[in-house]
């Protein structure tokens, strides 16, 4: 009987050891390492397709150029046990104006005590960016104060992004991690590029 009890206690202890690291898991830390221009088309929002007489064709939908921006994040796991990045989302802002919100659902394991890098490429299109600036109440008020226009701002960003002549920020970043037992750990992050 004593032997049986010993075996039972051992089983419970093993289960306990499986759980303990989960209970003690430290929250991973996400930081913005850098921002890169992944690809860019020169700024335009007018139709580039022309008819046989060389005049721009009527478009039923805005034509525009694309700007792909890569956000490289450092994801540090300060704990001893590995954790899996389950999902990650953040809002990107140019000059303090929100321009995009992205979500990444790809899984990635981060060993204990190590830092991985994660590149998220965000596609921005000129015309929809202008539209989103025009419908946002706070955006509209700020643009009016600046005595500028949504189109002028977006043009400035497209032309100035290669020099990072304005701050590119990551806001409201949240990342969801899971440890080996499925316990969820949520962490938040922000960042600005270029770094001061």
């Amino acid at each position: 009987m004593n032997k049986a009890l010993t075996v039972f206690v051992a089983c419970v202890a093993v289960m306990g050891l499986m759980v303990l690291p989960a209970l003690a898991a430290e929250a991973p830390v996400v930081t913005l390492d850098r921002v890169e221009v992944a690809s860019i088309q020169p700024f335009f929002v007018k139709p580039l397709i022309k008819d046989k007489d060389g005049n721009p064709k009527e478009m039923t939908y805005g034509y525009s150029s694309t700007l792909n921006v890569a956000y490289v994040l450092n994801i540090k796991n300060p704990g001893k046990e590995p954790v899996q990045l389950s999902e990650l989302q953040f809002t990107t802002a140019f000059d303090g104006f929100d321009v995009n919100t992205v979500t990444s659902y790809e899984g990635m394991w981060i060993p204990g005590g190590k830092t991985n890098q994660w590149r998220v490429i965000v596609t921005n299109e000129a015309f929809p960016t202008i539209v989103s600036l025009m419908v946002g109440a706070e955006h509209a008020a700020r643009i009016a104060e600046m005595k500028s226009s949504a189109g002028a701002l977006v043009s400035k960003w497209w032309n100035g992004i290669s020099d990072f002549s304005f701050p590119v920020t990551v806001t409201n970043g949240t990342a969801l991690f899971k440890d080996e037992k499925g316990k969820e750990i949520r962490t938040t992050f922000t960042g600005t590029w270029p770094k001061k």
């Binding site: 009987m1 032997k3 049986a4 009890l5 075996v7 039972f8 051992a10 089983c11 419970v12 093993v14 289960m15 499986m18 759980v19 989302q89 929100d98 321009v99 995009n100 919100t101 992205v102 979500t103 659902y105 299109e125 929809p128 960016t129 539209v131 989103s132 025009m134 419908v135 946002g136 109440a137 509209a140 008020a141 806001t171 409201n172 970043g173 949240t174 037992k181 499925g182 316990k183 949520r186 938040t188 922000t190």
Partner: protein
Amino acid sequence: MAKKILLLGLVLGLLWTTAFAADEIKVGSINDLTGATSDVGKDAALGIRECVTYVNDSGGINGKKIKLLLYDYGYRVPEAMTIYKRFRDYDKIALLLQWGTGDTEALSPTVNKDKMVTISDSLSGHLCDPKKTPYNFVYSTDYSTNARAALTAWYEEVWKKSDKWKAARDAGKKPKLVCFYMFAAPYASAPIKAIKDQAQILGIEVGKDEDVSLTALDAKSQVLAAKGEEANIVWHGNTTMSVATAVKDAYALKLGADHIVNNWGFDKNLVRMTSQAGEGVIGAAACAFLGDKVPYMDKVLEYCKKVNPGVPIEKRDIRTVQAWLKVSMAVSGLQKADKKGKLDGPKIKAELETLKDWSPFDTPNALGRSGYTVTPEDHRPTPVSLLYTIKDGKIVPLTQINMKEKFPDKWQSWLGW
């Protein structure tokens, strides 16, 4: 004996591990974070994730967690279709959450062919007739019912009673309605036929429609046209930014008409942007406003802070609460279908069609809504329209109208408008 106890220990261990690796139920969500309705879309998307987190923290779907896959489609129908196909073919989602009227109506033939239950933020009346769209569901009073109710409330509470219109009433003048909306936007145009029909029922004349863009920064020409029509009441069918532009221009140009607004154009941003011009505007709401004293609002606020601590609470709005209402309805269908052992489209649809006197999270008046009934013949969840008005810079309740009780002989014939 030792062997038995050892076996018990191993079984316990196995159960323990299994509990952590419980199945996930995938739910796909198509949202507008960057497009023409992103002014209201971002808040709604935050709310969806927060409510799903709350549901998962509270035991999920009978112990199974929801895996939410939420993507931006920028209010572009082709992108919504692409995302849906990915959800269907790769992610194998159990249920779809949608956003706009354009994408929901465009995807409707596909989701119905695929037997995919979808609950949309589009409350278009066109999506409520199961004979035409059996797998489409809406989570609040449909636009057409709201439009009819808003016009009725204005007619009864303002036109018939206020001093402002006494001279016109005494002169035997019929009131005149003009509709401001973006003709090309399916959301904005969805309830127009219904509100004009309601005008006819109430004896209100209808003037020429005015095309106002969702991104309008100037609506002076439309306001002047409405002034030429001698409009007494203007229906605004766009979203907040555009509605604010029109209301401000109407004030500046002394249009003199009153304003009634569909639910996506009526929120605290409208109050903020219109200030004095917004006084007296009447608007429909899908549910309680953020911060109202109703059951479950504490959870909404708690999860705003927990899941999106980087977004100040003062920047959040009613769209968050709407998202909770939408997710709670989805969860109800998923839970009931899962309990019966089959989580597929036909089963989820069948369970949603058994909702009777339903309230979010089975709590009366949670999120400000109660008494939903959905049947295989009618997907309009409620005939009750919640109407508010702006008074002294605040949104305050005006009235609630049960359109089924008020127009019992008409209600059934309005299905699918």
